[in-house]
Symmetry: C2
Subunit: 390 residues, 2 copies
């Protein structure tokens, strides 16, 4: 069980500050959750994440089922102990991953048959199996197995997928209830926390399909939180905003809304403005490994030759353990020399940047200045350092 308490609602926008109470910790929202697909936030140590202010992490049921296996993780005491993270965890169901396996999958009402991306072995996911996998992993928040479609999908495809996701939600809930007594992992990790299941609102870019899905999900029962899926998958940016605006009145105000797989710094600000409470994305770590730093003056490409002897920090406004110790010149040197520390430090800075952005957003909402704050930050974040001529 997790409980959400709405603490402050912005007057000019849908932005809100709240607290999510789980058995393990209290999470201030809006919150960004760093992504640890394979039970590790790429290149980072859980202690660093904690120091940077991360309160909740993500992992992925599909990936962990294939490797090392949810049975192994259960045997070792569950996902928290496995990855040495004692804060709350959310596991994505793997819907997005399975439906990304173009040509390797076959969908029917029962579930999805696919080939493992690791060894090509034939596998089958059903909503029930995915619940059982997540039970074994022991995540605090489990996501339903949903039918994910590309951002350009037409209306009829979107309707079919959304309706199937609703039927799968019903099956997921039954399996979730049936296995309630079997929360072996929670006992093993001795945290006493129960698990909860979030539904996922689908419907592609079609606003009325989204509304229908939200209503149908609410009719099914009372949920601890609501996932909004199938966005940031190739659709135009304005479509995401329209969907969020349409969903706000359809979702209960006293439950958290989780915008899945989003996003970049400006997406977070826009999402908060439209009432979103939880975000996750691989962007900070992936961009970091590619040498791009998020900063309060936009993006910075650390490989830029102009930084060769730049003594300044990545971001002069940042207080992370990278910016307080290392110069751009040093970080550029590490990148050019292909040193592993480069990947760590840029990933850490970027994760810290998003966590700090969330802290600032919460503070702006509480102090009643969110509108001006958001406008300023959207402008700042849009800037990308021009690349020097090659």
């Amino acid at each position: 069980m997790i409980q959400y308490r709405l603490q402050r609602q912005d007057r000019q926008s849908k932005a809100r500050v709240g607290r999510l109470c789980t058995a393990r910790a209290v999470i201030d929202t809006p919150a960004f959750m760093p992504v640890g697909t394979l039970a590790t936030v790429r290149a980072l140590d859980p202690l660093e994440l904690r120091q940077a202010g991360a309160s909740m992490l993500l992992a992925n049921a599909y990936h962990l089922h294939l490797r090392p296996g949810d049975d192994v993780i259960q045997e070792l005491g569950g996902l928290h102990r496995f990855m040495a993270w004692d804060g709350p965890l959310l596991t994505d169901s793997g819907g997005f991953q399975v439906f990304s396996l173009q040509g390797l999958r076959r969908v029917d009402e029962e579930g999805v048959e696919f080939r493992s991306h690791i060894d090509g072995s034939r596998r089958r996911f059903t909503p029930e199996l995915v619940v059982r996998i997540q039970r074994r992993l022991g995540a605090d928040v489990m996501m339903q197995f949903d039918h994910v479609i590309p951002g350009q999908a037409d209306r009829s495809t979107a309707r079919d997928a959304s309706e199937r996701s609703l039927r799968w939600l019903e099956r997921s809930r039954r399996e979730f209830e049936r296995t309630r007594e079997a929360v072996v992992v929670a006992r093993l990790t001795d945290q006493g926390g129960g698990q909860t299941l979030f539904p996922i609102v689908q419907g592609g870019t079609f606003v009325e399909l989204r509304r229908e899905a939200a209503r149908a999900i609410r009719q099914m029962g009372d949920w601890d939180g609501y996932g909004i899926g199938g966005l940031s998958v190739g659709e135009p940016k304005h479509s995401m905003m329209e969907v969020l605006e349409a969903l706000d009145p359809e979702l209960p105000q006293d439950r958290p809304r989780y915008l899945m797989g989003v996003g970049f710094p400006s997406d977070l600000v826009e999402g908060i403005r439209r009432g979103v409470d939880l975000f996750d994305c691989v962007a900070p770590t992936r961009m970091g490994r590619n040498g791009t730093a998020f900063t309060s003056q936009g993006r910075l490409n650390i490989k830029n030759a102009a930084l060769r002897s730049d003594p300044g920090p990545l971001d002069p406004e940042c207080s992370c353990s990278v910016c307080t110790r290392f110069s751009r010149a040093y970080l550029r040197h590490l990148f050019v020399s292909e040193e592993l520390l480069a990947l760590r430090l840029l990933s850490l800075h970027n994760v810290h940047f998003l966590l700090e952005l969330m802290r600032r957003a919460r503070s702006a909402i509480v102090s009643g200045h969110f509108g001006a704050w958001a406008t300023e930050w959207i402008e700042r974040l849009a800037y990308t350092e021009p690349e020097p001529a090659a």
Copy 2:
């Protein structure tokens, strides 16, 4: 200036405990220095190294001259500030690196002409230039530029190289004196510490050449410490031990002896037994990145399938931040999944292992049990987990 104070001499062996006082810190010896060739101990953060108990780090003048350039590092306030390490630093001169560039170099009395391993550009190192590079880097301990030969080199090659190294030492010292007033970096970093220059004893595997070199070096003057080079470069293991035994009476007891580029855990124990105070080696980080962990029961290959669900730590006797948090099963999962965290964690454990081994050695010497301690550890360290049949 650095000062060495001998604190305890073992009765049955040449092992000794001492303290090396530099302007930045006091180093308990015997000590292992992790290697940060390019101003970064591969995959590790200086804060982690500090926590693991590292007191002094190494960097490399050859590598840093080529990239990012000692001029850049000087401009940024020196190597300590550049890499955010406020403890003592030693820079190797690059003799080993330059002489490893087979076919890319030409040696004469003046110095070595070679091609950069990065861009193929033509470069020239002289003893004087190498001193100036290290002055600019600002390391606490600078090493002379020496002529390094392969471990199988014959007597006449070894004699020539050793005698040239002696002549280069004299030139290095003159340049060191000449540039004494120009210690710009030390002022910039505001640590006030002076720099010192260590000679390097060469002579291949030929014991009397080694003795002659040591005597000639001592006749040149009083040095703050003595490097022993050209070992662990392909010669038989017993040759290294013979050289160390021959050198012990030739080197002053009240100065530290630094065995360069050594080594593996058992080499450290054998070196200490023969009177060595300082060691450096890339082994802990390189082996870590390859998936091999040093443990108190010998070596462990973390990729071994038998560890798939092993809940135990890498080393049950280890108190490092890896062993106290993560299972072998988790570390194996990270390695098999090619996750970056794997490289960090095994490197960190291995570095901690060697630092802890040094702490134990010091404690054994102080308590008068070094002989039995060394025998037991040589035996433990010799064990390598058998590989499972493929």
